[in-house]
Symmetry: C2
Subunit: 84 residues, 2 copies
């Protein structure tokens, strides 16, 4: 019996240390203007939940398409398998 | 001695079940066009790492500014404290 399984991955893409995060800078400024003085720092990241046949394609699309190797770092986590 | 502590929070904002994720739809279509046939589904979310004096302001900025209650759900997690 052939079990066809789809894996679930969680890809998180963040700005490298030292690279300015424009959205975070803007948000932090606005929070202070709006009176939220207790917000000290903000950093953002993007997460993609991807269902795929195998990890190799997820790694390739992450390094080639989703992440910009010059400014981003990323992690790829298998979160839990599910079969059809 | 007064210890002034800043807390670290992780806010994740996702589309509600049944609400279309435009970015994810576009990405998935492009992956298939580019030949990545093993990618079955994509969903996106936005993560904010926030350093703040307390949780209340983080909850308020999340529900009032960062998330749109009509289309988003969100989670707020204290990740680890640090003091100055």
């Amino acid at each position: 019996m052939f079990v066809y399984s789809i894996m679930k991955f969680r890809v998180e893409i963040r700005y490298k240390e030292g690279v300015e995060d424009p959205e975070a800078v803007t948000i932090l400024k606005n929070f202070n203007i709006l009176g939220y003085k207790g917000i000290r720092d903000v950093r953002t990241s993007k997460v993609y939940y991807i269902d795929a046949d195998d990890r190799d394609e997820v790694s390739e699309i992450t390094s080639k398409i989703l992440a910009n190797p010059v400014i981003h770092t990323y992690t790829i986590e298998a979160i839990e398998g599910s079969s059809h």
